[in-house]
């Protein structure tokens, strides 16, 4: 009896936690369909797409289209770089090499240095060197200090469980190193590579602290949102939130589907 009761209590706790995670996001999802006269909170004053339409009239809320485009481009670049470097580093780390430990420590350090310090440091470095900060150069680098460690750690975890016997078998059959990588290693780790890509993309797409001082004159989307929180007091903010959240959800769902397919 006691055990049964405890089990229900614990499952209830988990339910509450999930509600806590998703509840607020759902409220703004609903509120973004607020009617034209509606305010920032309940009750709903009718249902409309008014605020979504407002969002696309660029002058009203700043440069929404431009920052969205920049964020997407940047996220794609960061994703590509993260996947290539993590994959290469993952392969390299399977053999011991000089500096392996140092590189590993550096990776972990990069994760735990407060984000604003990275932002400030990169910004200053560009300042001292006399270069202009821009979203595709300095912000790109600053974001990699966040996405790469995640990618690397995932790849390490994957290769730790990777059985080298498969590769040896391929080599015994006369496969070149490229062939064994392309036809043996890659298919096995493909789902994890998609995972790394997902991390790279979404972490970059939502990143603001590291981008703040490194993006130069053109804002990325999260920076635009930060600007809006202080100046915009209409449900436009929620419409934007809904849109980016739905977009993230689509990307995540796509990646999960791809992982399932590749696991076959």
């Amino acid at each position: 009896m006691g055990a049964q009761l405890r089990r229900w209590a614990l499952l209830g706790f988990l339910g509450l936690f999930i509600l806590f995670l998703y509840g607020p996001t759902l409220t703004i999802l609903i509120l973004s369909f607020q009617g034209p006269d509606g305010g920032l909170t309940f009750p709903m004053n009718g249902v409309s797409l008014h605020w979504f339409a407002r969002l696309f009239q660029a002058q009203a809320v700043g440069d929404f289209g431009g920052s969205m485009l920049r964020s997407l481009t940047l996220a794609t670049l960061v994703m590509a770089a993260t996947v290539v470097v993590s994959l290469a580093a993952g392969m390299a780390f399977r053999r011991r090499f000089r500096g392996a430990n140092a590189l590993f420590t550096l990776t972990v350090t990069s994760l735990i240095i407060p984000s604003i310090l990275v932002s400030l440091g990169v910004g200053l470095l560009y300042n001292l060197a006399g270069w202009d900060t821009d979203w595709y150069s300095s912000a790109f680098g600053a974001q990699l200090t966040w996405t790469l460690p995640f990618g690397l750690l995932i790849m390490f975890a994957v290769f730790n469980r990777f059985n080298p016997a498969w590769e040896e078998a391929a080599r015994d059959q006369g496969a070149t190193p490229w062939q064994s990588f392309r036809h043996v290693v890659l298919p096995i780790i493909a789902p994890s590579v998609v995972g790394v890509a997902l991390f790279g993309f979404t972490l970059s797409y939502d990143e603001y602290a590291r981008t703040l001082l490194t993006a130069g004159s053109d804002n990325t989307l999260p920076l635009e949102i930060i600007g809006m929180t202080t100046s915009v007091t209409t449900p436009v903010l929620y419409a934007l939130g809904t849109l980016t959240t739905v977009f993230s959800a689509v990307v995540i769902a796509g990646a999960l589907c791809a992982m399932r397919l590749l696991k076959r």
Partner: protein, 263 residues
């Protein structure tokens, strides 16, 4: 490259002199004496550490509980993975948006106040809900608990179930199993999660600015304000101090728990 050079730049500039118009290369300690000599700095650090301690306590308890439930109470493997994904997906969506979404919930005319007023529990809307320390801590817990759940879940999944069966066979109660088998074996995961939570909270500035409505300060916010005033050397000196404090905290965590076997 993008990590080491910027950190070097940070340390170098922290020794530069500055006046109201420009930065003067040089070597002065005034930035540090200013930082360490000001009572505002000390108060801000204390405030930040208080936030960190609170957030750490909440995320540890909640994160551990969630990881425990996922690992030991959910029996089907598929349900387990689905629920784990459900708990991690918010990590991949925008933090900004997740913070903003508390506003309609906690505001003066927000859901919570309206509900409480209607049930007659309170007669005045609760003012402390939004733009307060309470809101800041709540937002932190909301954002960072996932960083605790994931590593602890990862560690717990590796606990050999036979150990637990052995304990139960030996007559241990549920509580004894939890406190003497599961908690000690989950320590590496708790340590990794703690490192994440501590560094994220110590370095944050956006959450504090947004959720406290400018009424509360944190070290990150102080640094970002100095940057806004173009006092780069002062900001750098502050940043170096913050970095040292964070590294000391991590060193303390690592002294207590050895996480190396986790990697």
């Amino acid at each position: 490259m993008f990590l080491l050079l910027p950190m070097v730049a940070l340390v170098v500039v922290s020794f530069f002199d500055y006046d109201s118009v420009q930065i003067i290369p040089g070597f002065v300690l005034t930035n540090y004496t200013d930082v360490l000599g000001s009572s505002v700095t000390w108060r801000t650090y204390l405030n930040t550490i208080r936030f960190t301690a609170l957030v750490w306590a909440f995320t540890t308890v909640i994160g551990f509980a969630v990881a425990y439930i996922l690992t030991f109470e959910i029996r089907s493997r598929t349900t387990q993975m689905v629920l784990f994904l459900v708990c991690t997906i918010p990590f991949l969506t925008s933090n900004m948006i997740r913070m903003i979404s508390w506003i309609p919930f906690l505001g003066r005319e927000g859901l919570l106040n309206t509900a409480l007023l209607r049930t007659g529990l309170i007669h005045q809307p609760l003012e402390f809900l939004l733009f307060s320390d309470f809101a800041v801590v709540l937002a932190y817990v909301h954002l960072f608990t996932l960083f605790m759940v994931t590593p602890v879940f990862n560690t717990m999944m590796r606990i050999d179930r036979r150990l637990i069966e052995a304990a139960v066979d030996g007559g241990a109660s549920w509580w004894q199993v939890l406190s003497q088998v599961i908690i000690p074996l989950s320590k590496p995961g708790l340590a990794i999660g703690s490192i994440f939570v501590v560094t994220l909270t110590m370095g944050d500035f956006v959450t504090v600015r947004l959720m406290s409505g400018g009424q509360s300060a944190s070290v990150g916010l102080m640094i970002s304000n100095q940057i806004a005033l173009l006092q780069y050397p002062a900001a750098c000196a502050n940043a170096v101090v913050l970095l040292l404090v964070v590294l000391l905290m991590i060193a303390a965590i690592l002294r207590i728990v050895d996480i190396r076997k986790e990697l």
